[in-house]
């Protein structure tokens, strides 16, 4: 233990003096958080809308003001022809156009179904889907109100009405959903890369050989070496959780102790992955590439960070079982957004523990082999 502490102290001095490592551990996470936190946002507001109103009746004006009042749309143009709409769309001046055809009011008053046309730029499928949803909601709302007026009775109400309540994220801010994923993503990358670099660097410089000549077991050395990385990464993780609370209004509804526990379990798995990488390669360049590849892609694509796992093809869903961030994200979202207790996230914590156990086991086997 004394020896492990000596190693840990030495490693800590090295990290503090080596600006590159310190950057990877502290500032790169904060930088990523700002960059992605503001850039990754699916909420669409103030969509530029072009309106071609052929009616100019009370009903058509009511429809238009509902679009504006929803705050999702800003009317930026009033084209007079389809050709003009096409021009606006092609130049990117508008993303969506609303066409109120002649006869809409007449049809409505006559109790027939009236049609309005919504033209959406589909070059970005996600945005188009969202705009379509907003437009439909606005039209449906106006349509229900007008129907009531037509029937003429104040006492009439639609037979069934939905009263939605969105829990945990009432305003459906995508940031709240994304930030926990972002935390996992950042912590994973900085941990895997910095740990794998630290050991491979010693191999390159020859200090690894010197240490192996001394009476310290490889496990003791590795434990000593990971202690400072664990502590610094833990501090860094809580730093970005704090920053997310300040910048993105991330609530932490659950217990901080449970959060500490979940973050620690995830960190140990990430450090183990870095260790495993360092036992497989002998140059820093290769360690950096493999570490990045192993941490970045799976955590980004296969963890449920951006793409829901449930909508992936089944074989790929199986692959996600070996991505530790998958479990961490479920646990983290549960703890910070829902405020769930230990009982609920226990399966995820268990999975993280199992992952750590396996990678650390593999790394020890590899290290033992190196002793020749």
């Amino acid at each position: 233990m004394r020896k492990a502490l000596a190693v840990g102290r030495k490693e800590f001095w090295q990290i503090v003096r080596d600006r590159r490592t310190l950057m990877i551990l502290l500032f790169v996470p904060a930088f990523f958080l700002m960059l992605y936190g503001y850039a990754l946002n699916w909420d669409i507001r103030h969509v530029r809308l072009a309106v071609m109103d052929r009616e100019h009746t009370a009903e058509s004006r009511e429809l238009l003001s509902s679009f504006v009042n929803s705050t999702y749309f800003d009317i930026v143009a009033s084209p007079g022809s389809m050709a003009e709409i096409e021009g606006l769309m092609n130049r990117g001046d508008t993303r969506v156009a609303l066409v109120i055809p002649e006869g809409m009011t007449r049809d409505m008053r006559a109790g027939r179904v009236a049609y309005v046309q919504v033209l959406i730029n589909g070059d970005n499928a996600n945005t188009a889907t969202a705009i379509f949803g907003y437009a439909q909601a606005v039209v449906r709302g106006v349509s229900a109100a007008l129907q009531l007026q037509l029937v003429g009775g104040r006492d009439f109400a639609p037979p069934i009405s939905v009263q939605p309540r969105i829990w945990y994220n009432p305003e459906l801010q995508s940031t709240l959903f994304l930030v926990p994923g972002l935390i996992g993503f950042i912590v994973m990358i900085s941990c895997v890369v910095s740990t794998s670099l630290s050991i491979v660097r010693e191999k390159e410089r020859g200090t690894w050989e010197q240490v192996r000549m001394s009476p310290i077991g490889t496990p003791t050395y590795v434990i000593g070496k990971t202690i400072p990385y664990f502590l610094i990464s833990l501090a860094s993780a809580f730093l970005i959780i704090g920053a997310s609370m300040a910048l993105f209004d991330l609530p932490v509804r659950g217990s901080w102790l449970l959060l500490l526990f979940a973050v620690s379990a995830f960190l140990i798995g990430a450090l183990g992955t870095g260790l495993l990488v360092s036992t497989l390669v002998d140059t820093q360049v290769l360690a950096f590439l493999i570490g990045l590849l192993l941490s970045l892609l799976p955590t980004f694509v296969l963890s449920g960070f951006i793409f829901p796992i449930a909508s992936m093809p089944v074989p790929i869903q199986y692959i996600t079982y070996v991505v530790p961030a998958r479990y961490f994200l479920v646990a983290l979202r549960g703890i910070v957004l829902k405020g769930v207790g230990f009982g609920v996230v226990a399966p995820e914590l268990l999975a993280l523990g199992l992952y750590s156990f396996i990678v650390l086991g593999l790394a020890s086997v590899r290290l033992a082999k190196e002793r020749g």
């Binding site: 102290r9 001095w13 003096r17 200090t207 009476p215 002793r371």
Partner: protein, 311 residues
């Protein structure tokens, strides 16, 4: 009891025989040199003696302990310093000492004592807080030596310790090694600097995994006693070398610095035919001189003999 006893030590890497049935003994307090070109098997032998590599067969007792059986116990008793001065460059002088003391499990009191000793020995008093990166080569080398003897090992292994260090620092380094040896520390050193080998009490010349010659420096040079070596200085040494090589009284020739060394056949002392041949060709020699063979001569000769034997 000898400090190191090696019997038929062998190490294979697949089909390649890196060390082939090597046997020797090193006495306590002796400075024992291991000489050989790259790939001769020096490093593999040292790594086995230090407990890093398991021998394929044969045995080695280091400080009375069998390295094949208990490598960890061997590591506690030896010090090791390698060609690359494996210090941590981002650590200060003091931090490096503290770290290596910690690796060997020194307690605080022992560490304080040894730290003072090492700082004094390496001439680093007052520079405790300098980053190792900023030290000049000679200081760095002495600090590396200091870190290797923090735990007062009975046997010290130096693996090509003076590469890339200026001559003055090298001499200071060898003074330190001699002091250690006089206090009873056994020093086992590998080198391919032949002038350095002259500091050793005894030398083993290694070639293709075997010990080709073993003895004191003067014993090894003595193997040349039967033959005379003439150092010839001339304006065009390469032409002279070719001209002298096929004389019947000459065994062989080799370049030596800007001069040539000419080995005469056993019993021959006469340099007349050499001078005549050079005059015939208009390659007047500036000087003709009988010289003591250098270790380099011995080494080249041993290698050549081994290679002839292998054919």
């Amino acid at each position: 009891m000898p400090a190191v006893t090696v019997r038929d030590l062998t190490r294979r890497f697949g089909a390649f025989l890196a060390v082939d049935r090597v046997s020797f003994e090193v006495e306590t307090g002796e400075i024992f040199g291991f000489l050989g070109s790259n790939g001769a098997g020096k490093s593999t032998t040292i790594r086995m003696l230090c407990g890093l590599l398991k021998p394929s067969s044969g045995s080695a007792l280091v400080g009375g302990i069998d390295v094949g059986r208990d490598p960890e116990a061997v590591k506690r008793r030896i010090g090791y310093m390698s060609q690359r001065f494996s210090l941590y460059e981002l650590l200060t002088v003091e931090e490096n000492i503290t770290f290596f003391g910690g690796l060997y499990g020194l307690d605080d009191r022992a560490l304080a004592d040894r730290r003072a000793f090492v700082l004094d020995m390496a001439g680093l008093k007052g520079r405790e807080r300098t980053l190792t990166r900023d030290l000049a080569g000679g200081w760095r080398q002495r600090l590396a030596l200091g870190c290797a003897i923090l735990h007062e090992p009975a046997i010290l292994f130096l693996d090509e310790p003076t590469g890339g260090v200026d001559p003055v620092s090298r001499r200071q380094f060898w003074q330190l090694i001699n002091q250690l040896s006089s206090k009873g520390v056994t020093v086992f050193v590998t080198t391919h600097y032949l002038d350095e080998a002259e500091h050793c009490h005894r030398l083993a010349l290694m070639h293709t995994g075997r010990i080709a010659a073993l003895g004191t420096v003067s014993e090894l040079k003595g193997t040349f006693n039967a033959r005379a070596v003439v150092e010839v200085r001339t304006a065009s040494p390469m032409a002279a070398l070719r001209a002298l090589d096929d004389l019947p009284t000459v065994e062989k020739t080799s370049p030596f610095g800007t001069a040539l060394h000419v080995w005469l056949r056993p019993g021959v002392r006469d340099t007349e035919p050499l001078q005549r041949r050079l005059e015939e060709l208009g390659l007047a020699a500036e000087s003709f001189e009988f010289v003591q063979p250098s270790l380099e001569d011995v080494f080249m000769d041993v290698v050549a003999r081994e290679e002839r034997a292998a054919v």
